[in-house]
């Protein structure tokens, strides 16, 4: 066997031995799904599906002293985009203190939106959450409304089989108006808008709060 072949095979053997443990460490550090990037982590975590990993986008408007968030209906030329996002992509739109229905003036980039949503669930989370919040802000700007703050709430369904408890752990990210950067605000979100938002969104049970 010539040397370059030996080198090639050795490299592959090393890759097969080293990549899976490295993949585990990187998936933890960069929060991408264990299912991706050939680290043989399929089924090691629940499938990052729309059922297991719901995504809520909450538009917060100034002066929302009234009732808690309500569902936001978004449509374009009579087509209900928000319903489609809920059913097909597990993305739920909410508004707090703003209009409950927005008719877009231009067609949203649905393919880009789908790609970003998948990125939130399966690839490095923070980067794609920022893209999602920015995309929603840009889309709604087409509807001539602007929220003061956009929250992206990424759920992760949990089951404690031994104790028979069910809930959703979640991360809350915020994109304030005029800001380009997303911020993880889970604790702040809980302090400022505790039970109201959680109960109105209908997702967060006691297990999530205990996390």
């Amino acid at each position: 066997m010539t040397s370059w072949r030996t080198v090639g095979i050795r490299l592959m053997v090393i890759a097969l031995a080293v990549w899976p443990p490295l993949h585990f460490c990187l998936s933890k550090a960069w929060s991408f799904s264990a299912w991706r990037f050939a680290g043989w982590g399929m089924y090691a975590t629940p499938h990052p599906s729309r059922e297991n990993c719901p995504i809520h986008v909450l538009l917060s408007f100034p002066g929302h002293d009234g009732p808690g968030p309500i569902p936001l209906a978004v449509s374009f030329q009579g087509k209900d985009i928000s319903q489609w996002l809920e059913r097909q992509r597990g993305v739920f739109l909410h508004t707090w203190g703003g209009p409950s229905h927005v008719e877009l003036l231009a067609a949203p980039r649905m393919r880009a939106l789908e790609s970003i949503v998948r990125g939130v669930r399966e690839l490095g989370r923070t980067n794609y959450v920022e893209q999602l919040a920015t995309e929603v802000r840009n889309v709604l700007a087409e509807g001539a409304i602007g929220a003061s703050e956009i929250f992206v709430i990424v759920g992760d369904r949990r089951v404690d089989v031994l104790r028979n408890r069910y809930g959703t752990a979640y991360d809350v990210y915020s994109l304030p108006h005029g800001s380009d950067g997303i911020e993880l605000v889970r604790e702040a979100f809980r302090e400022v808008r505790p039970a109201t938002v959680e109960s109105d969104l209908g997702w967060f049970s006691s297990l999530a709060l205990a996390d």
């Binding site: 090639g8 975590t45 629940p46 399966e122 089989v161 028979n164």
Partner: protein
């Protein structure tokens, strides 16, 4: 197919001799049969992965056919493997970062085959006697390499499940049963119905996403999730290790193959299961053509069935 008398007795006997067989014919025939099966399997299942349509790129299809033919010829086997590696590499590049993991594994296996010198290549640079010995040694080395690669997938899959901490507690199966409509979830629920036929009545329901806070699993269901999870991880860690020992291999290897078939069927990953079973069959040196002919037939049947369904 593998639960037949042939599978247990014949396969167990020949596997126990694996490692002692050093004849040139054993390694050559085994590799030739495997390479041929692998290429035929890739061709037969091409449209499952690659959405084979005439509009998709005729050069790719032509390359696939030529690579398959070349893979079945000793002289051009490496070229065939390289051709298929190019096709899979193209697919990996197209689907990145959402590439199916087994495509990457198949790509690695193909590159290993492509780097392995053929009989013809060795004979051209060495005297025939030395080339024969060298080829037998290289053949066994490649078989071990491919086999080891497959076993490493099993072991690392088990280790990943333990490390991520959401499998051994039964959570993955519980979530699948409660929320998913995947093939795995449906088979898990079907198996649960069997359990309930013995152990009682179900209490869980398949919930819409909006009713998650009302989710409940009964004691039997939770025990089922836990036991199944532990069984899977134990199999993934122990069977590869046991298959390395000559005494336990006759039981471990058929169990590995049966497990691979079961996983492939339950999770609708038959494409991967075919590859994996093909590689695991490198553990036997006898009747390679028969065994790989059966596997090739299954691959062709599955491929054609899928093609007809489209």
């Amino acid at each position: 197919m593998l639960s037949s008398t042939w599978a247990w007795h014949d396969l167990a006997r020949v596997i126990s001799t694996w490692g002692r067989s050093s004849t040139r014919e054993d390694a050559t025939d085994l590799l030739r049969a495997f390479r041929c099966f692998f290429a035929l399997k890739l061709l037969a299942t091409f449209h499952h992965i690659h959405e084979w349509e005439w509009s998709h790129g005729r050069w790719l299809q032509l390359l696939a056919v030529l690579s398959t033919v070349a893979s079945c010829r000793e002289r051009f086997a490496r070229v065939g493997a390289l051709g298929w590696a190019l096709i899979l590499g193209h697919r990996v590049a197209l689907t990145w970062p959402y590439t199916l993991n087994h495509l990457v594994l198949e790509l690695i296996l193909l590159l290993m085959i492509a780097l392995h010198p053929t009989d013809a290549a060795l004979t051209s640079v060495q005297p025939p006697a030395e080339a024969t010995l060298e080829h037998a040694r290289e053949g066994r080395a490649l078989c071990s390499l491919l086999w080891g690669a497959m076993l490493s997938v099993w072991v690392f899959a088990g280790l990943q499940k333990i490390a991520h901490g959401r499998y051994l507690n039964g959570e993955s199966f519980a979530l699948a049963i409660l929320t998913e409509e995947s093939s795995l979830a449906q088979h898990l629920r079907a198996a649960l119905r069997w359990v309930f036929a013995i152990g009682g009545s179900p209490t869980s329901t398949h919930l819409p996403v909006s009713a998650w806070s009302e989710a409940r699993l009964g004691g039997l269901e939770r025990a089922y999730c836990l036991i199944m999870s532990w069984l899977v991880v134990a199999a993934e860690l122990l069977l590869p290790v046991l298959s390395l020992n000559r005494r336990t291999r006759p039981f471990a290897l058929p169990a590995l193959i049966a497990g691979q078939v079961l996983i492939g069927w339950m999770s609708n990953e038959l494409d991967f299961a075919l590859t994996a079973v093909g590689v695991l069959n490198l553990g036997s040196t006898q009747r390679p053509y028969l065994r790989y002919a059966i596997l090739s037939g299954l691959a062709a049947f599955w491929g054609l069935e899928g093609f007809a369904r489209r």
